[in-house]
Symmetry: C2
Subunit: 332 residues, 2 copies
C-alpha cells in the first residue's frame, strides 16, 4: 500500500534500457524497435505501472485538466441542466485522458476560476452559462485561455455551442398556432440571459410567419419569483387568455402552482406550454407540452470542441444542436 510508485527510471533499470526508451515505448513517439517496445509494454503491464501525469504535464507544459465553470447562484430548475452538462463533459474528458476541475462562480465573483488559471491547473475551460456581460468569459479572453461557452453569446471570438432555442421555440409556437390558439401570454425570466432573447425571437418569428393571424399576445419578461408569476396568472385568467407559455420550467412550475391553487383544470380552462423540458416537471399531471434538449450531448460536444482547440485546431465559432418538440396533455 505504501510502496513507492514505480517510475520510468525503475523500469529502465529493470530492463537495462534508458529512460528515453521507456518513455518512447509508452508515448509511441519517436522510433523504437518493435521488440524493445513490447518488452517495455509487457513489463508495464505486469507491474501495473502507470505514469505520473503531473510530471508528464510539467515536462510538456500541460495539466490534462479541464476547468468547468459552474454558477453558484442557480435556481433549482437549472440544476439538472448543469448536472447533465457535467456528466457529458466529465465522460468525454475522461475518455480523452483529461480530468475535470470545477470552479464555482457567483455573481461575477471569479476567484476560484482565477486561482485555477493563475495556478496553471487547467489547459482550457468550459463555461456552462453565458451572460450578456460575462465576467468569466472576459477574464479568460484576457488571459488567453482556450475556452468554449455552452450557451450563446454575442462575443464573436468565442467558441460557443448551444441548442437551437430559437428554432425550437418557433416550431413549438407554430404548432400551437396551428391548433387554433389565439390568445397567448409569454412569461419569461431575466433578459440578462442570452437564451431569453433567443427564445423570444423564436416566439415572435412564429407569429411573423403567419400574416393572417388575428389573435393577441402579451409578453412578461424579467419575472423571477413565484409571487410575480402568481399575480400575472391571476390577471391572465381574468382576461381569459387561452395559453400561457413559459420560457423555462421554473416559471412553469410557478404558473402551475398558481393555477392549482385556483383549481384551474388543464387544458380545459387554460393551456400551458414550456420552452424547456426538465426533469422538474416530469411527474406533473397532466404532462406539460415542452421542448426537449439532449443536455448531456451538449456537454459532450462542448468538451470535444475544447479538446480540439487544445490539439491546436480551430473549430468553427458556433455550433447549434437540435431539439425535440414534445406535445403533451397540457395543450388541447
Amino acid at each position: 500500500m505504501e510502496e513507492r510508485n514505480l517510475t520510468i527510471g525503475d523500469i529502465a533499470q529493470a530492463l537495462g534500457v534508458s529512460k528515453t526508451t521507456v518513455s518512447r515505448a509508452i508515448s509511441g513517439k519517436g522510433r523504437i524497435g518493435e521488440q524493445t517496445r513490447s518488452r517495455v509494454l509487457d513489463y508495464i503491464e505486469a507491474h501495473h505501472y502507470s505514469p505520473n501525469v503531473v510530471a508528464k504535464g510539467l515536462a510538456q507544459n500541460k495539466t490534462f485538466n479541464l476547468g468547468l465553470v459552474l454558477p453558484g447562484d442557480y435556481n433549482i430548475v437549472e440544476l439538472p441542466f448543469f448536472q447533465k452538462c457535467m456528466m457529458g463533459i466529465s465522460r468525454t474528458a475522461s475518455e480523452a485522458g483529461y480530468d475535470v476541475l470545477i470552479s464555482v462562480v457567483t455573481a461575477g465573483q471569479i476567484a476560484q476560476l482565477e486561482r485555477a488559471v493563475t495556478n496553471r491547473k487547467v489547459d482550457g475551460v468550459i463555461l456552462t452559462r453565458t451572460l450578456t456581460d460575462d465576467v468569466p468569459m472576459r477574464y479568460l479572453e484576457e488571459k488567453g485561455v482556450p475556452f468554449v461557452a455552452i450557451g450563446s453569446t454575442d462575443n464573436e471570438r468565442a467558441v460557443q455551442i448551444d441548442n437551437d432555442h430559437r428554432s425550437a421555440c418557433r416550431e413549438l409556437m407554430g404548432r400551437l398556432l396551428d391548433r387554433g390558439i389565439r390568445k397567448f401570454a409569454l412569461i419569461g425570466g431575466s433578459e440578462g440571459y442570452v437564451v431569453t432573447k433567443n427564445r423570444l425571437l423564436g416566439f415572435q418569428e412564429a407569429f411573423a410567419k403567419r400574416l393572417g393571424w388575428d389573435g393577441s399576445r402579451q409578453i412578461f419578461l424579467n419575472i423571477d419569483n413565484g409571487a410575480e408569476a402568481d399575480k400575472i396568472v391571476e390577471r391572465l385568467l381574468a382576461e381569459q387568455v387561452e395559453c400561457i407559455v413559459c420560457m423555462d420550467d421554473f416559471l412553469c412550475d410557478c404558473v402551475l402552482n398558481a393555477l392549482q391553487i385556483r383549481r384551474i383544470v388543464l387544458p380545459k380552462q387554460v393551456q400551458v406550454a414550456s420552452f424547456y423540458d426538465s426533469s422538474l416537471l416530469a411527474n406533473r399531471i397532466p404532462g406539460i407540452t415542452s421542448i426537449y434538449f439532449d443536455v448531456e450531448e451538449l456537454g459532450r460536444k462542448a468538451c470535444e470542441l475544447l479538446l480540439q482547440m487544445l490539439d491546436g485546431e480551430q473549430p468553427k465559432r458556433r455550433t447549434l444542436l437540435g431539439y425535440e418538440v414534445r406535445m403533451r396533455e397540457s395543450i388541447k
Copy 2:
C-alpha cells in the same frame, strides 16, 4: 498574453539571489533575512508572479487537488444535495489552496475515480454518497487513499460525516405523535442506502419511547417510482391512514401527486410529512412539514476533515451534524 510565465529562476536572477532564497521567501519555510524576504515579496507583487503549483506539487509529491466522487445515477430530488455539497466543498478547498476534481461513478463503475487515483491527480477524496456495499470506498481503502465519506457507513475505519438523521426523524415523529396522530404510514426508498436504515431507526424509536401509544404504523420500503407510490397511496386512503410520512422528497413528490390526482385536500383529508426538506418541495402549497439540513455546511465540514487528514491529523471517525424540524401546514 503569450509571454512566458515568470519563474522562480527569473526572480532570483533579477534580484541577484538564489532560487532557494526566493523559494523560502514565498513558502515562509527556513530562515531568511527580513530584508531579503520583503525584496522578493515586493518583486513578486509588482510583477504578478504566481507559482506553478504543478511543479511545486511534483517536488512535494502533492497535487493540491481533492477528488470529489459524484454519482451518475441520481434522481432529481437528490440533485440539490449533491450540488450544495459541492459548493461547500469547492469553497473550503479553494480557501485552503486546493482545487476540486470530479469523478462520476455510476452503478459501481469507478473508472473515472481509478483514473484520478492511479494518475496521481488527487491527494484525497470525498465521497458524497455511501452505499451498504460501497465499491468506491473499498477501492480507496485498498489503495490507501485518504478519504472522507459524506453519509453514514458501517465501515469502522472510514472517516465519515453525516447529519443526524436518526435523531431528526425521531424528533419529527415525536412531534407528530404529540399532536395526537394515530394511524401512520411510512414510505421509504432503497434499503441499500445507509440513510434509509437510520431514518427507519429514528422513526421506530419515536414509537418505542411512547409506551401508551395505541395507534398503527405501516411501513413500505424499497419504493422507487411514482407508480408504486401511487398504488400505496390509494390503499392508504382507503384505509383512512391519518398521516403519510415520506422518507425523502422524491417519494413525497410522488405521494403529493397521487393525492392531487384524487383531489385530496391537505391536511384536512390526510396529513403528510417528509424526512427531508429539499428545494424541490419549496413551492408546494400547502407547505410540507419536514426536516432541514444545512448541506453546504456538511460539504464544508467534510472538506475540512479531509484537509486535516492531509495535514497528517487523525480526525475522529464520526461526525454528526445538526438538523431542524420544520413544521408546516401539511400537518394539522
